[in-house]
Amino acid sequence: MSLKQKTRELLKRREQVQLGGGEKAIEKQKAIGKLTARERILSLLDEDSFHEYDLFVAHEARDFGMETKVLHGDGVITGTGTIYGAPICIYAQDFTVAGGSLGYMHARKITKIMDHALKMRVPLIGINDSGGARIQEGVNSLAGYGEIFFRNTLSSGVIPQISVILGPCAGGAVYSPALTDFVFVVENISKMFITGPEVIKTVLGEEISMEELGGAKVHSEITGNAHFFAESENECFDQIKKLITYIPWNNGQKAKPFPPKEPKAEYDIEKIVPNDSSQPYDVRDVIRAISDDSDFIESHADFARNIVVGFGRINGDTIGFIANQPLVLAGVLDCDSSDKAARFIRYCDSFNIPMVTLEDLPGYLPGADQEHAGVIRHGAKILYAYSEATVPRITVILRKAYGGGYIAMNSRHLRADFVFAWPSAEIAVMGPEGAANIIFRKEIMSAENPDEMRKIKVAEYKAKFANPYVAAAKGYIDTVIEPSETRKLLIHAIDVSKNKKVGQPKKKHGIPPF
């Protein structure tokens, strides 16, 4: 055979493999509104940048009639490519090949590309669309999952790991996404659960649909398992591409700076925050009034909305924003918002992203349900995450900073690098109403008109303590600033923190309140 003939044969073989599970299976995939694994990779990566490996890998299963079955690529496509020039290792499970089921060689292909990503220090993207373990391959499938989870953990905090759920992802398979940094889901397509509706019905008698049990909405709003929600696969790919521009390739680098841009004029920082601290506003408008081009990509946008986290840029550099959201539940901290913030803080710290905290919260959410859900343990995660973080950390207190919430939100006491306060800031142990009721209990109770006396005492307390100057007098905040100075000061603070170096006591690792 001449080289030309041999090349022709290669092309023929390649073409066969690239058809995955065949035209019928592809039709089925399309009928439910899903793209094929190959289309997904090609839409996500830069044009002509994808190179596939291990396409001729074949399974070695010999039981249950598997010996005669040909599974192209063993149900998963792996390779490398780029997103806006950033190198990416990627795999996509191919549902058209044996339902994307995970067999031994399928897992080997995934772990090979994972090892590559870690070795080369480049981001890893995994597209999940699989019926689960390949039952015919028995314990070898389970071994495969274990090898993937181990690598997810090893790579955690070294390279960015992104999981995209574009089909079912059930049973043990869910733990790979759960171990990665960002999980993307798409309405009507993503399904994640440990035990499916059928088992739940047989064992517990509860009837629930797949969508209600583990659909995209459930995981982005209720469980917090998903960070980004999209209505279509293409919207989801755009979100991933945008996120990639904000984060570094690995923990040894900084995110690529962009040309600085002023915020848009429509976000007037002086007009967003109401003076009365019991009135709501959308803190994302404050972020947009500070960030370059008023651009902001929000993570966990629909989960624990009482806190806002996400990336923006200030003077060209990626910044992680953490902001209490007075618009939802008055911006209180609770179990979910603590989890959400702590995780994001650790992400920023791992990947050298400076953090800006915007503070306006009345404290923790009261209630037996919160206490019993472990708000102590969950709330402690924020304290831990901030205290441990060594990236530049700047806090701007916009209005309320009460009690435990004040301490938790990157206070000086947790070694914030800079704490700025607006003149509207109220740094106190609790709100004036609550404080006056306790401090002046006797005077109020014994007064002729207790309500009148309460009002007087609340006003007295407010005048004395509901301001930034008591804390400023102690040096707990660095300076009181005009709202219009905020961006300028943040640019400066980030600039002077560029070579920040702090020592941590030597240890293997801490024990965060997981």
Binding site: S278, L327, G363
Partner: protein
Amino acid sequence: MAKKEKFEILNIDGTEYKTRLTAKFLKRKNWEKPNEKMVKAFIPGNILSIFVKEGQKVKEGTKLLILEAMKMKNLVSAPVAGTIKSIKVKEGIMVPKNELLIEIE
């Protein structure tokens, strides 16, 4: 944005904050003091057999019924001594979690 929206009130430490509430917050369960005289299903399952009758006197620990769930036969016994006031379930039916099974007085 917020001018036309009607906000809910959330009271934190005596201050009433205008804000939005979340579905999760609205669905939270208010705490109730557990009443030992109300024997409830601790797990959803199937009532396999009932050992007592209404009006019967029981001691603490008397076998009341078997609640089969997750392929396990769970023996439910009287948490307090008293008289069976009413039996709310029959043998062979499925009950959801926290369903009232037997009332003791």
